[in-house]
């Protein structure tokens, strides 16, 4: 036992352990609602108990055991519940309280994320459920991060949990043959959580950096659980390499600093080293996919000592590969930035003009920058204004307004 504790320490443990505990309880009781409520109650007990007796050696195991007992109590109280709960009661009433072995517990979390990201649930619901059940975020925090009233978010979560129960969305890791269709939504959810934190269109600062950290943690978990799925490794590498630049991406007063102008000494070198190693690992295994290629592009950026020494030819080659795999207008837009560096802004502008991305602020910002570099200031001004009209992020707006001012 460690000495006395405070509620902050318990909250930290909640963040780290609640997803694991909810996942395990869901396996034991076959019901997400029961699992979630029992884990919440166990932490309420922990807050008062640990204040007196200190934090136990294995707080996760303590939480699972306590939550198990809470759930059994509840089922005994509500004896009218369906057969499977009675069965669960009979099955687990006499089990010893030894902590679950690590392997099956980790599988529990993988099962739960595949349930949360089931294609029968809407994407915004998948994100909310993942943050609630696996990352242990409170409903009010998720609501704030996605700028919806708390009651709306609470209702969305309740509906989703009922759909999982009523429609029989399974709690299991999909078979190998199903993985190609089931992994992409899981990766998309983790990437969206990261992006919401990184380039949030809204929300307050604190919650946003937290979303980045949750996404990285989920990506680490997925990569550890599915080491042979290279796109999972690719996503983790991508997030690490983007996250490594976060300290240099804003000035002290919160305004945006573009990649070329960043103080590279502020990049997180250990995250970069980790990300580069994962990218090399992917390259060696040679089964490229969109996340791996995006990670490789970011690896080239992170590898350059200065903006001027960036290997744009290699970046353009990677974008060519990415565009072949994922021929979307957004990829084409990002590729045009590399084209501008290799073949000049005129060639890039020609490509960009063929895209249909009106109203997407990076499209207008890219056009504005290319026009500015070509000395076409009047047209650039129109595009900067269009970009401004399409973003509500304060640091983005500050950056665009500054560009407009010096035009």
């Amino acid at each position: 036992m460690v000495p006395k504790t405070d509620d902050g320490a318990v909250e930290l443990i909640f963040r780290r352990e609640s997803g694991r505990a909810v996942a395990t309880l869901t396996r034991l009781f076959g019901d997400i609602d029961i699992a979630e409520e029992a884990v919440q109650e166990a932490f309420v007990t922990a807050t008062s108990r640990w204040r007196e007796m200190g934090i136990p050696m294995n707080p996760g195991g303590w939480i699972v055991t306590t939550a198990k007992n809470k759930a059994l109590d509840r089922i005994r109280r509500e004896s009218t519940r369906g057969d499977r709960h009675v069965a669960a009661l009979l099955l687990h009433d006499n089990t010893d309280q030894a902590p679950e072995d690590r392997g099956s517990v980790e599988d529990d979390r993988l099962r739960l994320i595949f349930t949360c990201c089931h294609p029968a649930l809407a994407p915004e619901t998948q994100i909310a459920l993942t943050l609630r059940l696996l990352a242990g975020l409170q409903t009010t925090e998720i609501a704030r991060a996605f700028l919806v009233p708390e009651a709306t978010m609470a209702q969305r979560l309740v509906r989703a949990k009922h759909k999982i129960r009523d429609a029989g969305i399974p709690y299991r890791v999909p078979q190998a043959s199903e993985l190609p269709s089931r992994i992409p939504p899981v990766l998309a959810v983790v990437y969206l959580i990261f992006n919401e934190g990184y380039a949030a269109s809204h929300g307050d600062d604190l919650v946003r950096s937290e979303l980045c950290e949750e996404a990285v943690r989920l990506a680490r978990l997925l990569a550890a659980l599915m080491p042979d799925e290279l796109e999972v490794t690719g996503l983790l590498a991508l997030l690490l390499l983007i996250d490594a630049r976060r300290p240099a991406r804003t000035t002290r007063d919160g305004s945006l600093v573009v990649l070329a102008a960043q103080d590279r000494s502020r990049w997180d070198t250990s995250l970069i080293a980790e990300g580069l190693e994962l990218v090399r690992d992917c390259l060696r295994r040679n089964r490229p996919g969109p996340y791996q290629i995006q990670a490789a592009i970011n690896a080239v950026h992170c590898d350059a000592r200065s903006a001027e020494s960036t290997d744009w030819i290699q970046i353009l080659q990677l974008y060519d590969q990415l565009l072949a795999l994922a021929p979307t207008p957004v990829v084409a837009l990002n590729r045009s930035v590399a084209v501008a560096e290799v073949d000049g802004p005129g060639a890039a502008l020609q490509l960009v003009s063929a895209l249909r991305l009106d109203g997407y602020h990076p499209y207008h910002a890219t056009r504005a920058d290319l026009l500015r570099r070509l000395g076409r200031s009047d047209e650039a001004r129109v595009e900067y204004l269009a970009a401004l009209a399409n973003t509500s992020n304060e640091s983005e707006r500050g950056f665009l307004e500054e560009r407009l001012r010096v035009l």
Partner: protein, 117 residues
């Protein structure tokens, strides 16, 4: 085992398919039904006459009112149903995918409520 309703939704104003197209559709639906029966997932299935053949009956305050249907004039109308048994939603969705391919229309999957124990 759970039971699911697989309902086929077709545009209400879709042109009548040709004899040939109908024949091909019936053949592929028959093949799907045979597969479903062989796997033990079949409970019931049937195609419906067009919505213009429907009648709505509503009993209210001891009086039964009968009107020319369908109940709701929507752009898509129910064309037919399957009732299947499946272990979970994934299994039901796999059957629904095959059902949709066989009839050439979108298929909605809805779980039946369990009978009270």
């Amino acid at each position: 085992m759970k039971q699911y309703l697989l309902s086929v939704h077709t545009p209400a104003d879709a042109p009548m398919p040709s004899e040939e197209e109908l024949g091909a559709m019936y053949a592929s639906v028959d093949a799907f039904n045979a597969e479903l029966q062989a796997a033990g997932g079949w409970v019931f299935a049937g195609g419906l006459y067009p919505p213009s053949s429907a009648t709505v009956v509503h009993a209210r305050d001891g009086e039964v009112v009968t009107t020319d249907g369908p109940f709701a004039e929507t752009k898509e109308q129910l064309g037919g149903v399957w009732i299947i048994e499946a272990s979970d939603l994934d299994a039901a969705l796999t059957w629904a995918g095959k059902a949709s391919a066989s009839c050439g229309a979108p298929v909605e999957v809805r779980p039946f409520q369990e009978l009270p124990a």
